[in-house]
Amino acid sequence: MKGYIWNKIGKIIPVESVARPYWSQEYFQAPNTILLKDRLRVFFCSREFASEGQYISRIGFCDFSRDGNFTFLGYSPNPLIELGKPGAFDEFGTYPLSVFADGDLSFGVYGGWTRTLSVPFDVSLGLVVSRDSGVSFQKVLEEPILTKSLDEPFIISSPKLRKFNGVWYLYYIAGEKWKIDNSRMEPVYKIRLATSTDLIHWQRHGEDLIESKLFEEAQASPDVFEFEGAYHMYFCYRETSNTKGIGRGYRIGYAKSDNLYDWIREDSSAGIELGPEAWDSLDISYPHFFTLNQKSFLLYLGNEVGKYFIGFAQLEKL
């Protein structure tokens, strides 16, 4: 997006002034929007306080006016997607979610979490559908639509569901390796693509889409959209060693494409950096682009991968 810059507006959810629902006691993560007739709906992931040191991520939404003022209208009272039964791929959490409104239906692809013994977790992707614009979702299948495979051995996550020219595109990440860094397990994962005509059977592209720029870089949130005649992807990337160190967390990257498969990475054109606020000064991640009233906006997570706030910024042409 050469020649563009994102002007940060602030926190989109008025966290300090509105009571949070029980399912959202900590974290605001992985925002994704759909635009309804009377409101902007922002799906996000959140958590109850940790039990025995472990969290379970749930998915809900909050609504805003669509008049350009982003007036906060409320949270979903409950999480939207049930956890899976014992042994199921989504028994221990649902994170992240990507929703695509397609006529009267809204389809969602979400990451389902299971807990494993040698490494902390594994993730596979499930499919849900809503007939009421995301107020409630039903699982299309109890099983994953995309899980570990021959060259994607674990952590199939961070979905972004899109439809271009009648074909479903699912941008996601696939684990490449688990590494042990100072006795901490850290996964390395890369952005990949699968396509489908029915949302259930997917053809994997089988290649990393975005060239890595860090050593053993982890990439997530491949937010793809069409804008002013080209395809764009905002994503986030980070180091996978010494991950708690200053400057080691997520930053936002950018790539462009003319065919949705081949991407040219051009982070210098992302137009969004850390800070200057204290809450987004250490890491920014999980970008999501949307347009409203002919204006373009970017949602993103602040420090500690959205532990406290979701930020938003407006696009300005230089």
């Binding site: 791929f89 494993t116 013994l117 688990w178």
Partner: protein, 326 residues
């Protein structure tokens, strides 16, 4: 009527080098025919640092009349599974499949441990470049894992050629349930036999949870399908047990079941009257993990017996004929 005559154990823990950390067990024998001898791959147990068993693959060679040619089994090198992979806590079973004289594949039933349930399994693939003495994984991930109608516990592959295509028989989990008699115990799993087809041995067309072997008891678990073609028929051996209390209660433990087919896809389960097994001391309490092996006009059954194969594996030979309409 078919009858399997008992020929006794052909391999025992005396064939395991127990000085080298092996904890016994010779499970799920799988045959591969060579010119002049028969190789049998099986899983034996090692204990990891937390004293939990890890199944690893070894092999023994046998003469064509089933005399063991090795003093001790040899570990099969398949390389090391990567951290977090589907097979990092063991391989059980390891199933060879000969595509041609030169090309032999190995199908891996890989185990990885879970927190809320004991285990998850998936099926991977490897290939040998030295006639089955070592294998190399094709990829760190599985070729078959949870899928539509098959939510977990995909394992126990057995592959057979069918013209230009291959059929894989395998199992998938249907539920994790608690035992009403023992509600605080870890959950028990239920699993059934399905099939998939392929033309390249790697990409498989599945049937979305279709269960191909009939059962009367909803708590029946079916495992280790093995198939051979004989005259105009297909014969399958498998083992089955109750979901609960199967370790110590003989009535609920593993027994062998058999099924017959004319096309490899549609199967009729044989009654215990239609197919009987002569039992020996080694499998008087339990019969499990069968492998069928056809040679000339004979069909052999290699399987485990009491205590899930702790004491080795034994041999039966089929008597009687498979006729249409049994």
């Amino acid at each position: 009527m078919l009858k399997f005559r008992n020929l006794g154990l052909i391999a025992t823990p005396q064939n395991l080098d127990l000085r080298d950390g092996r904890a016994g067990f010779m499970q799920s024998p799988q045959t591969l025919q060579f010119d002049g001898f028969i190789r049998i791959y099986f899983s034996t147990r090692f204990l990891d640092s937390s004293s939990k068993p890890i199944s690893q693959v070894e092999y023994l060679d046998f003469s064509n009349d089933w005399h063991c040619l090795d003093s001790f089994s040899k570990p099969l090198s398949i390389g090391k599974s990567v951290l977090g992979a589907y097979d990092e806590h063991g391989i059980f079973p390891f199933v060879p499949f000969r595509i041609s004289e030169k090309v032999i594949l190995g199908y891996i039933s890989g185990w990885s441990r879970r927190v809320s349930v004991d285990v998850e399994t998936a099926i991977g693939i490897c290939i040998t470049h030295n006639n089955g003495e070592t294998f190399t994984r094709i990829g760190n991930g599985p070729i078959l894992a949870a899928g539509i109608g098959e939510p977990f516990l995909v394992g126990d592959p057995f592959v057979i050629a069918n013209g230009d295509q291959m059929i894989m028989y395998y199992i998938f989990g249907t539920s994790w349930i608690s035992d009403p008699q023992n509600p605080t115990a870890p959950l028990d799993r239920v699993y059934r036999i399905g099939l998939a087809t392929s033309t390249d041995a790697i990409n498989w067309d599945r049937r979305n949870g279709n269960q191909i072997i009939s059962f009367e008891d909803e708590l029946e678990c079916q495992a280790l399908p093995s198939v051979t073609r004989f005259q105009d028929s297909w014969l399958m051996a498998f083992c089955y047990r109750n979901a609960h209390d199967f370790r110590h209660n003989k009535e609920k433990g593993y027994r062998l079941g058999f099924a017959r087919s004319l096309d490899g896809f549609n199967w009729s389960r044989l009654s215990e009257k239609d197919c009987t097994m002569e039992l020996g001391d080694w499998n008087s309490e339990m019969q499990c993990y069968p492998n069928l092996y056809a040679s000339g006009d004979q069909i052999y059954l290699i399987s485990n017996g009491n205590q899930f194969g702790k004491h080795g594996f034994g041999l039966h030979v089929l008597e009687g004929e498979i006729k249409n309409g049994i």
